[in-house]
Symmetry: C2
Subunit: 419 residues, 2 copies
Amino acid sequence: MESVRDTVVRMARQARDASRNVAGLSTGVKNDVLLRTAELLRERSEEIRAENEKDLAAGRERGLAAAMLDRLELSDRVLDSMIQGLREIAALPDPVGEVDDMVRRPSGILVGRMRVPLGVVAMIYESRPNVTIDAAALCLKAGNAVFLRGGSEAVHSNVVLGAILREALESCGADPDAVQVVPVTDREAVNVLLEQEEYIDLVIPRGGEGLIRFVSEHSRIPVLKHYKGVCHAFVDTGADHDMAARIVMNGKVQRPGVCNALETLLVHEDEAGSFLPRIAGELMDAGVEIRGCERTCAIVGGAKRAVEDDWPAEFLDLIIAVRVVKDIDEAMEHIARYGSRHTEVIITPHYGNAQRFLREVDASAVMVNASSRFSDGGQFGLGAEIGISTTKLHAYGPMGLKELTARKFIVYGAGEIRE
Amino acid sequence: MESVRDTVVRMARQARDASRNVAGLSTGVKNDVLLRTAELLRERSEEIRAENEKDLAAGRERGLAAAMLDRLELSDRVLDSMIQGLREIAALPDPVGEVDDMVRRPSGILVGRMRVPLGVVAMIYESRPNVTIDAAALCLKAGNAVFLRGGSEAVHSNVVLGAILREALESCGADPDAVQVVPVTDREAVNVLLEQEEYIDLVIPRGGEGLIRFVSEHSRIPVLKHYKGVCHAFVDTGADHDMAARIVMNGKVQRPGVCNALETLLVHEDEAGSFLPRIAGELMDAGVEIRGCERTCAIVGGAKRAVEDDWPAEFLDLIIAVRVVKDIDEAMEHIARYGSRHTEVIITPHYGNAQRFLREVDASAVMVNASSRFSDGGQFGLGAEIGISTTKLHAYGPMGLKELTARKFIVYGAGEIRE
């Protein structure tokens, strides 16, 4: 039997070999592949459900938590959303071949930049098998081969979804090797994958902080990732309290388990006495636990005293840290120290403070008078999102199709030479 | 005494601490720093020459080759070109703070992208001490702190140039720690540097293939690099022989020691019988050695028979590999197999072949009817060049000031929340 190492290396090489084929596909063929995949998901739903049931049964046997089993399940609703996602990605403009920045240089040559696929993109993810379809669709639309390594608890689901993607490629005349789903659950597969810098151009891990740290510490391939989203809202002096309350409540309560939810509220000392009792009431009515600094606790009855570990915490839960600050400088100092470069918000009526915050705060998304929950590829107009980067190389913030491409220089000459 | 490790870690931390200061400097102050550095290079030329003489003396003692000593020398001509370079970089537009792609989204928010510095950029380079000034100037102009590790044979020169840069920063009210020059020649310094992913955002190695391989294999920090430039020119059927000869001669002879020089000539079989004798004559008159495939050797008297190792070779010398190919497909196959993703050229009168070549060839610069020697930041209009990337993440091709920055999302709202 082929060893785990041999399997992973063979699949990575096959993806690399297929990457030239998929890079050269027309937009029409790529869209056909996505739409054919959507059809097959419908036609094969019985088979998909049967494979998914194997994962669910194994999960129940291993005693997985209900929330985990829920994420694992390919229900009708989840299948519908995968089909919908495929149609949306097919409808997005194709970034490949796009040319811009074309200029004529003094030498006479015409220089521009053309978008090209990256080559082979690997995704390493946990639990949710729908990522198999979403990630493959985005990578293929951007002309990349894709190498998928999902959670071991979803291996049957991922393998059948991979087979459907490969069948769709083949039926459209494209190379099925452009999609590779690692069929083994052995953890060694991840280690071997991360060594294949000869065949894989980019790794995107999606999952918990542990997975992401492991990948970025062991990878010899460039990694795009974010560890966590510790997003702050700073309520400046003179801020409209209605607007501030609306933005804070939306950031904290609408969907607390996501990375662009709000974790810390910073309040200018001028507003603390009036704004804090109001927002604390709204938050507590919504079941949010408040962990405040000393000054916050003096104003808000029922607030717990925050400890040092609360400031850099990503609660992902109905908990908020609250601190009173002297001014915008102290707020920005706090963010520089505890922020995670994800999303930072100021609520202010002051033009100068808005501009300073936008310019000086180092985060992938910086907002004035808007909810942190907008920090998302779809909301920002990128179309679908393959992930978020909180480091600055290659991409910073939500990543869409363009972030799965590079730009090469193209030159139209008429026989020019360099003097 | 401080250990090598402690020195490097301390300097990396100082660079990180200073990076916030330099990121916030106005364009005017950054330009003043560059112009003040230019003045100091002139005022302190005696001292610079004296330190440089120490390196030269040590090099002569160690028996360095004349070419190496030549590259090491800070002659009046080299100092003048450093001063000129500083003035040119001061004159370039500042990329930091530039906002584009601003759109209003259906939610009402206005989303755009603002260029921001990367943070701390490390350069690891060999020999030429003028890189100390060029690289620091580009990094500072893009708002980055810079961590410089030059060749051990140039340490005295690099340290005095670093001191001048720091003095210029200080005299303009900026943090001098934004420039760090590693003062130790110990090789361990490079290993320690490459582990400082907490403090350094990007490493750019410049030098021989050995140095670049070492850096990219050992770095935990993202690396932008190119190993070599194996550039091809393909003379298509029907090509204008005068144009083809001009482009081949310019590519091979004008400056054979650089990475955008031509290494391999591919000739369509329709043209081989007439074009090869002509170009071979011109090349041999210029002292170029021809290493040809079997068909080339049958046509060109005096051509050596190429061996397999000649096809992927970066000669950096008056040597050219020549191969006759059946058609554009065979030419592109050859390039895909042996090319280095640097610069590839087609000489063709055919619209369709030109478009196919531009689209299908995977290289950082792809050209029609122009010399490979144009593949350069200055020629492409980027201003000065910090290096060339032949991998696709973050930058592909010549890198200028913009490639030393990232783009963050900025949002102007009016109280919008996500439904």
